[in-house]
């Protein structure tokens, strides 16, 4: 069954006191304060939208589709932050605190679940308009998990570890049986489906996200508790948070160290989809080699796209002295493991944050209160004495620092890119409109206007589009080829070294010592090869975008001779190449389990083993290498092409409209029309005035 169907429910089945309370979070002002940095971005986007409204009024029917689309994009813009972390780091409590809504998501999620929960927070949403959407695994994903045992199954079968594979299978079989008992016969039918609800409450979340205890299986309570959690793949919860200056999405991912490594893949995808990552660690197990999987994942993202939050400092006995030690240890680990060395590290406690949000401190507990006092004493010396108790606890919880860091990254990263895209398109629209107006004016006043045939200029635009799209394709073709060469060389170097190391091991220690070989080097090589490609591809795309803009401008100047009225054309922003997050996924060499030894002891001579080893490692790393080309470089080409095409199509629409003007009937001018043109001119002037703050040269001077 592949067709997706969805059920929609509009109201909670039974409204209890608890669910009624859940319509909206309590207003404390703390969230407003924490994210106030985002207010500036929100204001700018509002001004941008205002300018688009003016443009819509100033332009004709040819302008409206573009302005409407841009305005829709502004309304829908939702910066997102992805939370990843250790299983017991208190990620969910933190997510709740960040949303200003303690207890929103149940914190005791069974580690078996693999749901990615996205909280879509909207400032303007009316209470009662909350929505929830749950998506189940597709048949294919479920089969992959069950029949092949996910990644671990693949690894085990490749390594010839039949016994391990058997164990994995047995566990999975058990899991399937449990799911069947819980879900009944409908179970397989549910795969690939979506369930939608017009409300969000605790029970609903419990049912889809949180797996109930096994012993409760046959009781009626289980009907609602964790009924679907086994097969839920993602949960999207839309909720109001009136204190936020703009929409925002907080995405909670499952921990990465699961038995079957299926969640690793889920996390990889979530990180790839997001421009900002918060890595949540627990203060007592800061970051050790146990978290290699986590470090591997984040080391493929740029430092400025990672924030590390060390949670649960409330459980430290001596926070004042321990925190600097933990910080040093995390930094050392990141350095040693080639992680994002410069990532910002913030310390805090989601537990304290919840208390600050709820305004009660009775349930803090003795130890936590002592830690709070110690840390507070330390902070007061740093100048926090003037704050109220709530504000102080809130500050000590690390939440304001975290939200501020998030706001800054959003403004500098995702927000800036989005703004540049929209304002560039708006400015180009304004330029074209102003040209169109001046042509109309010239015709009305009997000035000399050369008629331009829309077909002809349209054909020239088509030629420009074709030429530059194929220039991008040609350049990418060349770059992808050299990427492939580079990756192939790295693959060979790695195989040679690893094989040599193995032979040496066998010679020195014989066959009864377990041999290990760290594939970190391979990752460094692949990452470097890909980064070189990404940098070159971004640069080459930028050059093509510029060339296309130059040609369009020349075409425009030649056709309409706009004279002194300036025709500025903003070059569109080149999309960023996707980060190679999947390089961090676990491969057989990462697993230092003993099945390895059993596997290689079976072999005959060292040499015949070496060949098989090379074959096996080849099979392990080839999908990784292939993915750089197929899932990163090639989709990136599509992204670049579509950005270029969209830009050219917009200019085509604008140019065609001006061409229309050159052919319109000048005698049709009337008093009323003149007035209308006057009004339009004023709207346009207003829009251009508003847009001037977004011009790149003004942005630069504002920054200085």
């Amino acid at each position: 069954m592949t067709a997706e169907s969805s059920e929609t429910h509009s109201a909670p089945p039974q409204a209890t006191a608890a669910t009624a309370r859940r319509g909206a979070p309590a207003q404390t002002g703390l969230i407003r304060q924490a994210y106030e940095g985002l207010g500036a971005l929100a204001d700018r986007l509002r001004r941008l939208e205002g300018a688009l409204v003016d443009l819509e009024q100033a332009g004709g029917p040819a302008t409206a589709p573009t302005t409407k689309k841009l305005r829709r994009q502004i309304r829908q813009f939702q910066p997102s932050v992805t939370m990843i972390g250790q299983v017991k780091a208190g990620k969910t409590t933190l997510v709740n605190a960040m949303a200003g809504w303690p207890d929103l998501l149940p914190a005791d999620i069974n580690p078996w679940t693999s749901v990615v929960t996205s909280l879509h927070l909207e400032p303007g949403l009316k209470p009662g308009n909350n929505k929830a959407k749950f998506r189940f695994f597709s048949e294919e994903e479920w089969d992959h998990l069950l029949s092949r045992g996910g990644r671990v199954g693949e690894l085990a079968s490749r390594a010839g570890a039949e016994q391990e594979l058997e164990k994995v299978r047995a566990q999975l079989q058990e899991m399937r049986e449990k799911s069947r008992r819980r879900l009944g016969n409908k179970f397989e039918m549910l795969l690939g489906q979506e369930h939608e609800y017009g409300y969000v409450d605790e029970q609903l979340i419990q049912r889809y996200v949180c797996l109930g205890d096994d012993f409760g299986e046959d009781t009626p309570a289980d009907q609602s508790q964790g009924r679907f959690a086994d097969i839920t793949r993602s949960a999207d919860l839309l909720m109001g948070q009136s204190e936020l200056p703009m929409r925002m999405c907080i995405r909670d991912t499952p921990g990465v160290n699961d038995t079957f490594m299926i969640r690793e893949q889920i996390t990889v995808n979530a990180i790839r989809a997001s421009k900002l990552c918060v890595v949540v660690l627990s203060a007592h197990q800061a970051l050790s080699t146990v978290d290699m999987a986590l470090i591997r994942l984040i080391s493929n993202i740029r430092s400025r796209e990672v924030i590390i939050f060390v949670n649960r400092i409330d459980e430290l006995t001596d926070p004042v002295n321990e925190i600097p030690e933990i910080q040093a240890s995390i930094e050392a680990t990141l350095r040693a493991q080639d992680g994002p060395k410069d990532a910002q590290i913030i310390f805090g406690s989601a537990f304290w944050a919840s208390h600050a949000l709820e305004g009660g401190y009775e349930s803090l507990g003795q130890a936590s209160a002592e830690a709070l006092l110690a840390w507070g004493q330390h902070a007061i010396e740093g100048g926090l004495a003037a704050l109220s108790v709530e504000d102080m606890v809130w500050t000590l919880s690390g939440m304001p620092a975290l939200c501020k860091a998030i706001s800054e990254r959003v403004i500098a990263g995702e927000g800036a890119e989005f703004e540049a895209n929209i304002s560039g398109a708006a400015q180009n629209l304004a330029s074209a409109l102003s040209a169109s107006h001046s042509v109309a004016k010239k015709r009305a006043t009997g000035g000399p206007v050369t008629a331009v045939a829309p077909d002809k200029i349209g054909a020239e635009m088509t030629a420009i589009a074709e030429r530059h799209v194929s220039a991008v394709e040609g350049k990418f073709d060349e770059l992808i080829r050299s990427l492939d060469d580079r990756l192939e060389n790295s693959r060979r170097s790695f195989l040679t070294r690893a094989t040599a190391s193995l032979i040496k091991h066998l010679e020195d220690y014989g066959e009864h010592e377990v041999w290990t070989y760290d594939p970190a080097g391979l990752r460094v090589l692949l990452r470097s090869g890909y980064r070189v490609f990404a940098a070159k591809a971004e640069k080459a795309s930028g050059a093509v975008f510029q060339a296309a803009a130059d040609e369009i401008k020349a075409l425009y100047m030649g056709a309409f001779q706009p004279g002194d009225s300036e025709y500025g054309l903003q070059v569109p922003v080149v999309p960023k190449a996707p980060a190679p997050v999947m390089l961090g996924q676990t491969i057989a060499l990462d697993i230092k389990g003993n099945w390895w030894s059993r596997w290689w002891r079976k072999r005959r001579s060292y040499d015949s083993f070496t060949e098989e080893f090379a074959g096996m490692i080849g099979a392990e790393i080839d999908p990784m290498i292939g993915s750089l080309s197929c899932d990163h470089a090639e989709p990136y080409l599509d992204q670049v092409k579509s950005a270029l095409t969209e830009f050219i199509e917009r200019q085509r629409a604008s140019i065609l409209e001006v061409a229309q003007q050159t052919q319109s009937d000048p005698n049709a001018a009337s008093e009323a029309r003149n007035e209308e043109a006057e009004a339009k001119g004023q709207r346009l002037a207003a829009a251009m005035d508003a847009l001037s703050e977004f011009r790149p040269e003004n942005l630069r001077s504002a920054a200085e």
Binding site: N489, S501, G521, L522, Y606
Partner: protein, 423 residues
């Protein structure tokens, strides 16, 4: 190019001096002796195959003369460098007959089973040969291969069409022999392309050599080596050059670590210029008295690459002279660092590895800005990419021997730069 380079001779002298002066700790003396052996000993090349495939004929073509008089089958035969032409023949009853000159018909009439020849041929200082004709019985063939395996660095497997029974025999040949072997196809209809596809990774290369040209030319002088043979010899020479450079680098590094003398320091300095000036012209071997008149021997007839456009050379020099200076600066720092191995404080290996990674990384970044269309610059850039790859992998592995490998990697890199500049 067919004899020992002066820098190799210099390294040999220094190693010998160091060993004699007992300047080297006992545990490292063994390494030193092994290095010396590697430097002194010519590369041992085996010609192996069934009689019909003509390994003996191929040998004659390479030497440019027939070591065994016409009309006699060639037994297992070893040819090495010596002060004069001598022959030492072992007969079936283990009697050994020693004589001046290479064998004549009288000697061959005794049916020797093994012959060892020496000759004052300069090229033999670089390559020595072992000819092994395989009989018909499988166990005999296998034991012959096992015997030969430890006596060879490089194998030329002569064959006509590489039939299944040979493929089977080869698959059971000792592993070390398979590590560096070429297939020499001597059959009339042998197509190297097809064979290459069939044998895949079993051989490093496939070369077709026509025996007919030799046979036809027998008596008719100066036909010159066949084109397939030329290609084979070019490849052999290139491989040997590479191996000798690696040996030389290892020796220099060793000398540097133990010989603190100025001479050893000097040996770390680039020797390319002097080497170029002093390199002897390839000398054609003098024909021995007893041997039949020589054909043009393949050994001396390896064509030098065509001279390069001086303008291109100048551009390249301009491009890489600054990185070369950088590399030299880094080499000085590295050589100081290498001295600290015995010092108990600090992490010697990881410092060396870090240094080498950094060096290759910086060079790689500079190489990014080099012109795209210069073949030589491209080759160097590729070489830098590879060096960086290896340096990173070594760093991740960690350890003393990895640090030493990384240091010799730097030396090799320097050699590459010097060769590019000297060309």
């Amino acid at each position: 190019m067919n004899t020992l380079a002066p820098e190799t001779l210099a390294a040999i002298d220094q190693l010998e001096a160091a060993l004699a002066a007992k300047a080297i700790p006992a545990k490292d003396a063994q390494t030193c002796a092994k290095l010396l052996d590697n430097l002194r000993r010519p590369v041992r090349v085996g010609l192996i195959g069934g009689t019909e495939a003509g390994p003996a004929t191929v040998l004659s073509m390479i030497l440019g003369q027939d070591p065994i008089p016409a009309g006699f089958p060639t037994p297992t035969l070893e040819i090495v460098h010596g002060a004069s032409y001598t022959c030492s023949a072992t007969l079936g009853d283990a009697t050994v007959l020693n004589s001046e000159g290479w064998p004549d018909a009288d000697l061959m009439a005794h049916n020797p089973v093994f012959i060892r020849l020496t000759g004052p041929i300069e090229a033999l200082r670089r390559i020595s040969f072992l000819h092994l004709s395989l009989g018909n019985d499988y166990p005999g063939q296998l034991s012959a291969l096992n015997w030969a395996a430890s006596r060879l660095e490089l194998t030329l497997w002569c064959s006509q069409g590489f039939p299944p029974h040979e493929a089977d025999l080869w698959s059971n040949a000792p592993d070390p022999m398979k590590h560096h072997a070429f297939l020499v196809a001597t059959g009339r209809g042998d197509n190297p392309g097809t064979l290459r596809q069939r044998v895949g990774a079993d051989f490093e290369g496939v070369f077709a050599v026509s025996l007919a040209e030799h046979l036809d030319a027998h008596g008719a002088l100066d036909l010159g080596p066949a084109p397939g043979l030329k290609a084979l010899m070019r490849r052999l020479n290139a491989d040997i050059d590479e191996a000798q450079l690696a040996d030389l680098d290892a020796a220099r590094l060793f000398l540097y670590r133990f010989g603190q003398s100025d001479a050893a320091r000097a040996s770390m300095k680039p020797a390319a210029k002097t080497a170029k000036a002093a390199a002897p012209k390839p000398a054609a071997p003098k024909p021995p008295q007893t041997a039949p008149a020589a054909q043009a021997p393949a050994l001396a007839a390896i064509p030098e690459p065509p001279p390069r456009d001086p303008e291109a050379v100048a551009t390249l020099k301009k491009t890489i002279s600054e990185p070369m200076l950088y590399l030299k600066r880094r080499a000085r720092a590295l050589s100081e660092m290498l001295d600290w191995q015995e010092s108990p404080s600090g992490d010697w290996a990881s410092d060396v590895l870090e240094h080498c990674c950094e060096t290759t990384e910086v060079l790689r970044d500079r190489a990014d800005a080099w012109p795209e269309d210069d073949g030589q610059a491209d080759a160097l850039r590729e070489c830098l990419d590879e060096a960086w790859d290896v340096a990173i992998l070594l760093q991740v592995e960690g350890g003393d021997s990895q640090a030493r490998d990384a240091a010799s990697l730097m030396l090799q890199l320097r050699g590459e730069f010097e060769r590019a500049l000297a060309a």
